[in-house]
Amino acid sequence: MTQPKELSLRRRAAERVLETAAGLVNRARLRAGPAAVADLALLESQHAAYVELHRRFTERAQAGDGGLQSALDALDAMWQMIRQLRAGAPAVLQTLSNEAVVERRARFYLESTRLLEDAIRSVFASNLGQLAIPPARMAVLVRVALEGLVVELAQARNAADVATVDQAYTDFRALFERSVLHEGPAVEPIALEPIALPW
């Protein structure tokens, strides 16, 4: 069993890696040199942060601490991770559009969506029948919303712009809190169709 102190150390280390990667991208851009390596570092550190969050919240769900509050905490933790990217904000947009890292970026989206789906299944394991939309699509929705906030944050030029993005997150969180679960009884599970098997 992972001890709380160890958890906290691991979390702080992940945050530091993310901040460093964001700073690296910025410096590489300022020097106008090839930034692909720094872009990759940023994507890798973002991926590592997703893995860490996934681990933290699935362990928490397995310990019996799942449900809506746990999901909101996870959302907040992801938002905190995005806010830390602020250090490298001017470069993030370029990282997202850098053709040299297109394959890694596609893989990052795929892997982060997969981690999100698994975390949603874990956190809402006892409420799956009440989820407003299925876990796979919910994962895409959350990922798209968060990446949208990353882009908005990257374009923020002053404190007022940042405050607008903060408010957007707060509103998204409130919508999520109100609508992620149906009220009332669980809806009927979708009928299972037979699947293809190898010959």
Partner: protein, 338 residues
């Protein structure tokens, strides 16, 4: 291809003694199901497989083939020294060497002049083994050949369960490994003979084979796991089967109404339904054994043929068409006048 002198003298099966239900596998996977939010009953609902059989712990894969062959020789009073070739066609292997056929021939005490070798052709193995035996008989090289297959799913199923219970396994990984949990175990043997030796007149007519090896990497299996692109494999397999079926009908000059029973490789509900629909087969003329026994690899087609005969679905003089598909992809369709 057409054969004039090849008959099926006998076919026997040995069903492994231990039934393992899909519900019991789901109970073992309970911790994973609860963690990833999968409901009980999902495995059977998705695959149509409700149970499979295991050999006792410690049994070799070749043991199933040996038991089936021994049963055939004893039941039909075939002296072992009259068998001139033994072809093992199992997907599973006990060792890289010796050939499984040598293990089986040795255990049966077949004579020093009995050719023995393995045919490795995935789930199509048994039918390819029958073709090899039939070719030798038709050419006059031999008069009697045993074709055998023993399959065992215990190791791969248990390995998959262990893997799925590891921390960090997610819904997608579960989905990727689901097919492995449909595998079953079985032992089968068939004796093919020259018409001079035939006692019952069950004639192997011939048929057609086709390959689509551009799809050879859609299903990669090892001793402990199987990685597949099952939807593509299903689609391409059904396409290949349709073309092979057309070839076989032309070669044998037969049509669907002439056929009493279509003996299909047993995989799962979606695959079976897709084949029946695409080939335009009458659903009540295709026996489904996968619900109780799962996918028993190379043993699937002969197991289904023997069961159809035992249940009276195929009688003397009836035409049966055997359809096998194997990873690779390869497909063979053979006609038998029983």
């Amino acid at each position: 291809m057409r054969y004039e002198r090849v008959h099926i003298q006998a076919i026997e099966i040995v069903i492994p003694p231990i039934e393992v239900t899909t519900a019991s596998l789901e109970r073992m996977l309970g911790p994973l199901f609860r963690r990833i939010g999968v409901q009980d009953g999902v495995l059977a609902a998705l695959t149509g497989v409700a149970a499979r059989r295991f050999w006792p712990d410690g049994a070799l894969t070749s043991d199933g083939a040996v038991q089936a062959a021994r049963k055939l020789l004893e039941t039909h009073a075939i002296p072992p020294d009259t068998v001139q070739a033994l072809i093992n066609t199992s997907v599973g292997k006990d060792y890289l060497e010796p050939p499984m056929a040598s293990l089986v021939a040795g255990d049966l005490g077949l004579g020093p002049h009995c050719l023995n070798f393995d045919v490795s052709h995935a789930c199509l193995g048994f039918m390819t083994g029958m073709l090899n035996a039939a070719n030798m008989i038709e050419l006059g090289q031999i008069e009697s050949a045993l074709v055998v297959a023993g399959e065992s799913s215990r190791t791969v199923t248990q390995g998959t369960i262990r893997k799925l219970l590891q921390p960090g396994v997610d819904f997608r990984t579960f989905g990727e490994n689901l097919a492995t949990l449909t595998l079953g175990s079985m032992g089968v043997a068939a004796l093919l003979v020259h018409e001079r030796r035939s006692r019952h007149g069950h004639r192997l007519l011939g048929g057609a084979s086709r390959a689509a090896t551009q799809h050879s990497r859609l299903c990669l299996g090892t001793q402990t796991e199987m990685k597949t692109d099952a939807p593509t494999l299903l689609r391409e397999g059904v396409d290949l089967a349709e073309r092979t079926f057309a070839d076989a009908q032309k070669e044998l000059r037969v049509a669907v109404p002439d056929v009493k029973e279509f003996v299909l490789h047993q995989v799962g509900k979606a695959n079976h339904d897709a084949l029946v629909q695409r080939l335009g087969l009458p659903p009540d003329q295709t026996l489904r054994l996968y619900p109780e026994y799962g996918n028993v690899g190379a043993a699937g087609v002969p197991f289904t043929l023997a069961t159809a005969v035992a249940r009276g679905r195929i009688g003397s003089g009836d035409l049966a068409m055997l359809l096998g598909i194997g990873s690779g992809l390869n497909c063979t369709m053979l006609g038998v006048r029983w």
